[in-house]
Symmetry: C2
Subunit: 310 residues, 2 copies
DNA sequence: TTGAAAGCGCTAACAC
DNA sequence: GTGTTAGCGCTTTCAA
């Protein structure tokens, strides 16, 4: 019952040509001129035998795998919102990459001790690293060869080797501050493994330290919100907002929607959305790097601005 | 600057042994007895050269890739809740598989026309297919050889070749009906590509057709909920509930938490949760199949019961 | 226009 | 104990 997988050799035999010829027509190699008749025979045989190329073999000789890695740093006690936070982003990105013929490897890293062997083991053609801790970044930059396009997401890292893509929080905050709810009495931030980014966001908010809450667990959030019924607040990410809305009136909440699903919010909440812009940006950037690899990035940071149209 | 990747041959040269010997010690082959001294030299050289095995090469000879595919059917107009729905499940599953040394390929299928070549191209060792339409299932069952462990998730399919894992909705509904909110005036169902599953859930609810709403978009949901302020309702999935809670009092809502994040719900809502049980179940099942492949499943369906403890 | 053959990096007989 | 070697399936140079 098990169907023996057909190989180039099988097709060659069936079509009475050599494996080389089969390879040429299967891959549409333009540098070779193959008469229609031969082509037809080969294609016919391939169909007959349900030929599917073995990408491991191809990788081996071409020295590229067709795989793109999305490596996401996680910690032991990640709140459920951390899981959800990248869901839309990853889905969208995967779909874009798939549409371009790449296959996506999803891989969780231990934020405290990221194991990066997968990059070289699988000969990933490109890598996204999401939300890295600065102190572990050297593992990335040192341990593997330049030349593998590497895009760092949601991390502020002082390094000039790789592209880093973040949301433009300055822009988002500017929009937020222009909303009728401003000025805000407090802000709730869905914190990152990358401490610098978390801190940066806090500082851009311009609020005093005790008006800033980093989302850890529901318990402490509820304590933080206890006396804030009558104040307006700002939430970073839809999920921070959803949690907050359990304790305060959503009409007093402005939300910077960094998770790509603003529609999940109570209708009363004020939204600043980034839409799918980040997936698109990192996808385009990767395509650029894949086509024209370069020594280092031309800009330290790529900042994704908020979505003006909706 | 680009670091030349070391191969077995390089190590062999450095350690002054043969590639075979290197392979033996690298892989801890027990059938060979290697003296400590040799072992040490080889390991030393490997470390020195930053050796990382090339899994494509290994796959080629071992005829197994170490890759597990998670193939998720999607449609053009998937609501954001569909994206979020599998987020926790996939993350958890990926982590379990990664911990066992597998790498995970995430792949979106067009529910209307699923392209499954990736399975044979990448020689996936195991495959999860999530939420398949019945009419496309023949593409799966026919097109590829038995022997590749295949687990179908969230789909009711009349077929005896593969394992199918679903939530035990009978169980969940039984629990729901035991809640103080029962009997319910209506139910909101986050619908699936697999029509049979959607219908099954509707029928198990025991409610009249006009008390059943299939989540499509917010507009129609709000219409459905218009006159239901004073009734109690049941929502399938946290996200269906969140959407509903925009229009009705969450205290009147019982929720069958199929998305793994009950904590996102308003505290007033009544919860029936499945926890991480489905990821665990499909993981264990896959491990079983990977170790002892069999001709067909011993049971048609594996049903994951609701989580009794929390 | 086609094919022979080398070789990508690795594993596993089998020989020494 | 260790090494030689034949492939795994594919691409690509070079020769015919």
């Amino acid at each position: 019952m098990t169907i023996k997988k057909a190989t180039l050799k099988d097709i060659a035999k069936a079509a009475e040509v050599s494996v080389a010829t089969v390879s040429y027509v299967i891959n549409n190699v333009t540098s070779q001129t193959i008469p229609e008749e031969t082509k037809r025979r080969v294609l016919e045989a391939a169909k007959q035998l349900h030929y599917v190329p073995n990408l491991a073999a191809r990788s081996l000789v071409k020295q590229k795998s067709g795989l793109i890695g999305i490596l996401v740093n996680r910690t032991e006690n990640d709140g459920f919102w951390r899981q959800l936070h990248y869901s839309t982003f990853i889905n969208r990105l995967e779909q874009l990459l798939t549409a371009r013929g790449y296959h996506v490897v999803l891989f969780s890293l231990d934020a405290a001790d990221p194991k990066l062997d997968i990059i070289s083991e699988r000969k990933l053609d490109g890598v996204y690293v999401v939300d890295v801790r600065t102190e572990n970044f050297h593992l990335i930059s040192s341990r593997f060869s330049i030349g593998v396009p590497l895009i760092v997401i949601d991390s502020i890292i002082n390094d000039s080797l790789f592209y880093k893509v973040n949301y433009d929080y300055d822009d988002a905050f500017a929009l937020a501050k222009a909303s009728p709810l401003a000025p805000f009495g407090y802000i709730i931030i869905d914190s990152f493994n990358n401490e610098e980014l978390t801190q940066y966001i806090a500082s851009v908010s311009g609020l005093e330290q005790d008006a800033v809450h980093f989302l850890r667990d529901e318990e402490s959030l509820s304590r933080f919100l206890k006396n804030k019924m009558n104040q307006t607040g700002l939430a970073l990410s839809e999920f921070a907002a959803i949690m907050a809305a359990k304790y305060v009136n959503p009409a007093n909440l402005a939300v910077i929607c960094s998770a790509g699903c603003p529609d999940i919010l109570p209708n009363a909440a004020v939204r600043i959305s980034f839409g799918d812009l980040k997936s698109e940006a990192v996808f385009q950037l990767m395509m650029k790097l894949l086509i024209a690899p370069r020594e280092g990035p031309d800009t330290q940071y790529v900042l994704v601005k908020a979505d003006r149209e909706h």
